[in-house]
Subunit: 435 residues, 2 copies
């Protein structure tokens, strides 16, 4: 069994945390000076671990094994939110580094090929999952050309400033890989609430984003009688309250919906707003549930428009993300490793957050492992995980990587899934494959 070195792992996580540290948090948005410094540090660490390291033309840091044969790709991202936590992304990247070293140290796996990767801009400074999209070839050139950050900087200028404009871009070689593994903090409270230490991801939930536009008439808040108003804000409040009243009727157990962004124009205390926007996002692991939500939103808009006054328009605010099933065989290896290292203390669960693995799965078999987030907190300086959970997660990942590369069938022995019973949390638990 590969021997994960806890001190080396935690030491490297601390070293990466120091690059861009602000208090307990990390500020290392994609292509910032600190992000590029972290990427150069990672490339050196990959080289030290015996890999052939490169930083490609979108900033992906890739460490290629010098060993022959089918390879496993492991990684995540090392860019952060504008005010990010220290583990989001970084955990999975340093896990990849440590798994490479642990497998190289073990004669049983030393001849196998493990590549490590840190994708660029998972956190959407320019394009969400820019690096993994580029890597698997699903980044439309027109989207790249149009990409600007919230300060108006173009992606092209950021690439040039980071010295990447002329570098070649890596493409995933599907023939090379047995699959891709990504470890990540959960970013939610499920594992902690259930007193579990490892999550094996069944599905990355699908996301749809709608924007409801309300067009009324701007007026003076003192001189315009109520009966005469076409108040865009009042229509928005009505619509949003209707969503929160009606959506539960068609929701699945783990469906979520969020109206986190509102814009009123002119957004002044004494002016009846003539224009408003409301973003409505919903997520579920089941495309049919997403269809029900979308249909309900359309019905609520049609009902409001039938009443008249303010006119509503439903727009698509983002390209929809379909639910992404993780690879069944890779999941079995992760589940078996979890049961060996933390018997009864793991579960299977969907991922409510999106991840690079959701992009990579379009080209390679992909699977994900979660460790608990303390208090479910993420995208915040307070983000943290217990050190023993961090070490345990890496041991599970290294063990699963070894079993995938060695080619053992995790179900030749006992069936850890049935023993564990963790599948009750996931609707996927009823699938034939049981995970």
């Amino acid at each position: 069994m590969p021997n994960v070195n806890a001190d080396r792992l935690l030491g490297d996580l601390d070293a990466l945390r120091a690059i861009g540290a602000q208090g307990p948090g990390v500020v290392r948005p994609a292509f910032s000076a600190k992000d590029m410094e972290a990427r150069r540090w990672l490339a050196r660490k990959f080289e030290d671990a015996g890999l052939e390291a490169t930083i490609d033309g979108v900033g992906n840091v890739f460490g290629r094994s010098r060993n022959a044969g089918r390879a496993l790709l492991i990684g995540s991202h090392s860019d952060t939110q504008p005010t990010g936590g220290w583990l989001d992304g970084a955990l999975g990247v340093v896990y990849a580094l440590e798994v490479v070293r642990a497998l190289a140290d073990d004669p049983a796996t030393a001849q196998h090929a493990v590549d490590a990767i840190s994708f660029q801009d998972e956190e959407s400074r320019f394009v969400g999952c820019l690096g993994s999209r580029s890597f698997v070839g699903t980044l439309p050139p027109e989207q790249e050309a149009a990409a600007i950050d919230r300060d108006g900087v173009s992606l092209g200028d950021a690439l040039a400033a980071a010295g990447l404009a002329e570098r070649p871009r890596l493409r995933a070689d599907a023939q090379r890989y047995a699959g891709f593994l990504e470890a990540h903090i959960e970013q939610g409270p499920q594992l902690e609430d259930d007193a579990k230490r490892i999550g094996v991801v069944t599905t990355i939930v699908g996301v749809r984003g709608l924007r409801v536009v309300f067009r009324g008439q701007q007026n003076h808040a003192g001189t315009t009688m109520m009966a005469r108003r076409r108040d865009a804000a009042a229509a928005l409040f009505d619509f949003a309250a209707a969503v929160n009243r009606e959506f539960p009727r068609v929701a699945a157990a783990r469906s979520v919906w969020t109206m986190g962004r509102v814009q009123l124009v002119p957004n002044a205390t004494s002016i009846v707003p003539g224009y408003a926007e409301l973003d409505l996002q919903f997520r579920d692991a089941d495309e049919a549930v997403l269809d029900r939500f979308a249909g309900l939103a359309e019905r609520l808009v049609a009902e409001a428009n039938a009443r008249g006054g303010v006119m509503l328009e439903l727009q698509r605010s983002r390209a929809p993300i379909a639910p992404t099933e993780m690879d069944a065989a890779l999941r079995r290896h992760l589940a078996a490793a979890a049961e060996r290292h933390a018997p009864g203390q793991w579960l299977v669960m969907p991922s409510g957050a999106f991840h690079d693995a959701g992009i990579v799965s379009a080209r390679l078999p992909a699977a994900m492992l979660f460790i608990p987030s303390i208090g479910g907190i993420s995208h915040d300086f307070a983000e943290d995980s217990r050190r023993e959970d961090i070490v345990l997660g890496c041991r599970v990942l290294a063990d699963a990587a070894a079993s995938i590369l060695i080619g053992s069938d995790p179900f030749l022995g006992s069936d850890p899934i049935v023993m564990n019973g963790g599948h009750h949390l996931s609707k996927r638990g009823s699938d034939p494959e049981r995970v």
Copy 2:
């Protein structure tokens, strides 16, 4: 009867409009270069009309009559909204100038004293009704010291830049004045809807402003299950929908309420907001109605807090403005003049917008006259009024000014109010005084 010169009146309105004109609108916010240019232009026009003109230490342009005896003060404001209309304020100021000239031209009134004034910053760049507050002595020094505009410029710096810092400030001499008259565009559609040409204001409605603060928990929109959320936006939508459902039950016929400003934090599509603010403003001519609205808002907050999750706090977002009754005697003069010039084509009505007359009335008897706004539009480049209504309004104002100064009792003859029947629009119509 004083002889208003229509060409002179419209010519001066056009000349003032040209200072800061942008297309059909005017951009002349308080203390801007264009505002100060307009004030110097007004001071010259006041001098040309025989008045002794000064610009005081807050920018009020004051033209003092050289005649002896009890005086009448007439005026409004010449500053505009950041993107304002050409008549809001300017109309009443140029009316004052024309009334001064018309009364001076008429031997029956030439010996009477009419002062003209253009107050500063009615439109709240720094302090709403700054000039009239200073003039009547109700501007708290600490409010003045703390005043900054939306760009962070302090009032003190703006006064210095305009060269006003060292100038003395005028104070209203209550002994000098029989009263204050302000003419203004209606800024609403009531006169137009009722096919009337003159409004005599009964009351400037009271205004209360509340801010509801919602404190929840910020979370990831993908990983936080619905049952665990404390979504500040969802609580805001619920509260706002409840206001729009419940307020009509306690409202009077002309009550208005507005929720024109919302702030979600962080206001991002993919984040459950942990904090939100909602401004709730309501207006009515009757303090008892305002009390009912305030009590209802408190009850809705208490009910939400009893449900738990997100916690609501009700704050006062502005100093309340009590309903301000216009002076009964002055109103009778305005009504009688309206009936003489536009028999059956005028009405009595509350003002839903606030005006300098509401400030001045704390120290002097004050009354107001409205002319129709085309389409009810104001605070917009499209603001306009029919030229014949502009001229008619000035004739009514000049005639009322003459009758006030001459001291005739408008009820010695017929009772125009009863004849006109316009009082049915106002709850004040049932007052003993009949207007």
